[in-house]
């Protein structure tokens, strides 16, 4: 990341000796994951009690469907940000995959199954281009993916112009919004959960996952411990592209419309959700559980406020404030704690 050394990473308040019994509790409460999960629970409870129709099955179904693209892309984005990079081109990749799916369906005569496979592969290729620029040429990912953000979005307009392809078979478009029989949970949540588990296991339980944290903390040190930094980052960008291909398919089928402007602006929401989930933009810190909770918190809050008749556009105040609070509060708390700690020590010395 370009902005790593201007402000030192917040120092975590040093562990206080002698706080024995409380230390475990504080460790639990102090972790950002726990804070976000707690906030999520509180918001869901308050919303169910006060907002009409929030707790209905139908609303839950729409809430989850709306969250799908955000949740899916947040998974690879988490890994990328942990390594200290960023991918701002995700929404444009979704758009390009969507229009290519439309164009292929319109003119190629291939079966939709084959088209879906092609689209995911294509997403992977788009991601590989990002990866090549970042790791092959050693360029900052922030600048590269701002470039491909424009490039891919432009190409998605080139593919379909301002037209939309909408005549997808009804059984396909119905399939993506169908709920699991007997519940109001959409079927598509199942592959999302599977993917989340895979990403979680890879990140937290494998050597490769630990290596991502090492890279985020110090590229060079990671290289010296035998981690192939460039190759790993390259494949992360490829995975990010492939997931965007999946999201492109989902987006196209859910709204039964392949358009050049699909998913415009989603990249900033994804980054917001990831940072809200406690992943450090410096790289090297964060957990997938927090990100999943962050995505849900963002989605639930928006959904509840929308049901409560708050203008959808004005809701961006909530998104922005949450993001700012999520980075300002932990630091402020750490500051206050450190100050209290110092004062207590001075008292101890004085007495």
């Amino acid at each position: 990341m370009a902005h790593d050394s201007l402000y030192a990473a917040p120092t975590t308040a040093e562990a206080e000796p002698g706080a024995g019994r409380l230390a475990g509790l504080r460790g639990l409460v102090g972790s950002w994951d726990a804070v976000i999960v707690a906030a999520l629970v509180v918001v869901v409870l308050v919303a169910s009690l006060t907002v009409e129709n929030f707790a209905s099955g139908r609303n839950a179904q729409f809430l989850l469907l709306d969250l799908m693209p955000l949740a899916l892309i947040a998974l690879p984005m988490t890994l990328i940000v942990i390594t200290g990079e960023i991918d701002l081109s995700v929404a444009s990749m979704v758009g390009l995959c969507s229009t290519l799916m439309g164009q292929l369906w319109l003119s190629s005569g291939l079966s939709l199954e084959l088209i879906c496979v092609l689209v995911v592969l294509l997403g992977a290729v788009l991601g590989a281009v990002n990866g090549l620029f970042v790791t092959g040429f050693g360029l900052p990912s922030l600048a590269v993916t701002i470039g491909t953000l424009a490039l891919y979005r432009g190409m998605s307009f080139v593919v379909l112009g301002d037209q939309a392809v909408a005549d997808f078979p009804a059984d396909w478009t119905a399939a993506v919004v169908r709920a699991i029989p007997g519940t109001s949970i959409p079927v598509v949540v199942v592959p999302l959960l599977l993917l989340a588990v895979v990403f979680g296991v890879v990140l937290h339980a494998t050597a490769a996952g630990r290596a991502l944290y090492a890279m985020g903390n110090n590229d060079q040190a990671a290289t010296f411990t035998g981690v192939s930094v460039a190759r790993t980052k390259f494949w992360l960008f490829v995975v990010s592209g492939a997931v965007c291909g999946l999201v492109g398919i989902f987006w196209t089928l859910r709204y039964a419309s392949a358009r050049g402007d699909n998913a415009t602006g989603l990249e900033l929401t994804v980054v917001t959700a990831v940072l809200l989930g406690g992943v450090s933009i410096f790289g090297g810190r964060g957990a997938l559980l927090g990100v999943v909770a962050g995505v849900l918190l963002l989605g639930v809050l928006r959904n509840a406020l929308q049901l409560a008749d708050v203008d959808a556009n004005a809701l961006t105040i909530v998104t922005g404030s949450l993001l700012i609070a999520s980075v300002v509060l932990p630091n402020a708390v750490a500051d206050v704690r450190a100050r209290l700690h110092r004062r207590r020590q001075r008292h101890a010395v004085a007495s």
């Binding site: 902005h3 402000y7 900033l268 933009i281 700012i324």
Partner: protein
């Protein structure tokens, strides 16, 4: 052309020799100066090709439209240069522009008699206030500006939507003297563009010739070293965000004057275009190098591409793709130049030792 600042050698040199001969400095300067030159050449070629295809591209009206079209982007890109040079980024400029534009319209709506200079001052002050919010939050949170300004991008835009609540302000609500500001010309040059030129000149001169301007490059090159050498890093960064906000506010007022019709969505998505203009203009995203002139030329180039594609009868849908390709080419070129400079310095150190 010695417009560029030679902030890069310190970065690219790495563990290069410590004999900062004048020769080395002049050579890197020459190398870096190529950026403004190459931008001008690209711009000239683009205009030439387009004019050969359709000679009305260089007619008075067309040029006027072009200058009018790029003025706002130029102002924003110059503000962004100040920020990026210090190794930060301000993603909230599009939202600040939107908020200030709507505020300007509302001011005229609620107080119809307001003279336009008052509106201008109010707009710039509001922009500076937004910038101060950014700067203060960054100082408190000690996190990269990317995160904070991403947050305020949403927050300012949300405030804008909340305030507007679906209303639209039309040209009829604004005084004619103010709207004339957006279309009037001085000696054939649009007033808007003159304002942009003044901004470019002032910021360019400041960055190049003022002590605090040079300190911004030092901060961007190596913040820790800048702090150790006694530069008030926190204060400078705060000031830079206030300046960027104020310039976005100025752009917002001009936006209102130019377009007349305002809703809460004005300037949405502009931030990435602004960063793109700066990057194409040779402002390194890592900070420490680049000039206001380059960024302004980058903004002009991006705008010109848009209008010449239309003249060349190339599908306008290609425009964004071309811009993206240009960004990649620009940062690739920067990287190549930096590597060559580094290699040359290494070669010389081996020779000298």
């Amino acid at each position: 052309m010695s417009l560029t600042d030679a902030g890069a050698p310190e970065r690219t040199a790495g563990n290069a020799p410590t004999d900062p001969g004048r020769q080395r400095r002049s050579r890197t300067e020459r190398l870096l100066a190529v950026r403004e030159l190459s931008l001008l050449i690209a711009l000239g070629l683009l205009v030439l090709v387009t004019t050969l295809r359709n000679d009305r591209f260089l007619s008075g009206q067309s040029i006027k439209d072009l200058l009018l079209g790029c003025a706002i982007l130029v102002i924003l890109a110059v503000g962004q240069t100040l920020v990026i040079v210090t190794r930060n980024v301000d993603l909230s400029v599009g939202s600040i522009l939107g908020l200030v534009a709507f505020a300007t319209g509302s001011l005229f709506l609620s107080a119809p008699g307001t003279p336009w200079p008052v509106a201008l001052v109010v707009g710039v002050a509001l922009g500076a206030l937004c910038g101060a919010v950014n700067g203060a939050l960054i100082a408190v949170a000690r996190v990269p500006a990317l995160v904070i300004t991403l947050g305020t991008l949403y927050a300012f835009r949300g405030v804008d939507y909340y305030w507007a609540s679906g209303r639209q302000i039309n040209a009829a609500d604004m005084p004619p003297s103010f709207l004339r500001l957006g279309n009037q010309t001085v000696l054939g040059v649009p007033v808007l563009f003159v304002v942009a030129l003044v901004v470019v000149a002032v910021v360019g001169f400041y960055l190049r010739s003022y002590r605090s301007g040079r300190e911004l490059y030092a901060i961007g090159s190596e913040p820790a070293a800048a702090r150790l050498s006694g530069i008030p890093v926190g204060r400078r960064v705060f000031a830079v965000f206030v300046a960027s906000g104020a310039l976005a506010g100025l752009a917002g007022v001009l936006y209102a004057a130019r377009f007349g019709t305002l809703d809460a969505a004005a300037g949405t998505g502009l931030e990435l275009q602004v960063v793109a203009a700066a990057v194409v203009g040779g402002v390194a995203i890592f900070g420490g190098s680049g000039s206001a002139y380059g960024a302004a030329l980058g903004a002009v180039l991006l705008t010109t591409i848009g209008s010449s594609l239309a003249v060349l009868r190339i599908d306008p849908f290609w425009q964004q793709a071309v811009v993206g390709a240009l960004i990649l080419a620009a940062i690739g070129l920067d990287r190549l130049l930096a590597l060559r400079v580094a290699a040359r310095l290494r070669g010389r150190s081996a020779h000298g030792a």
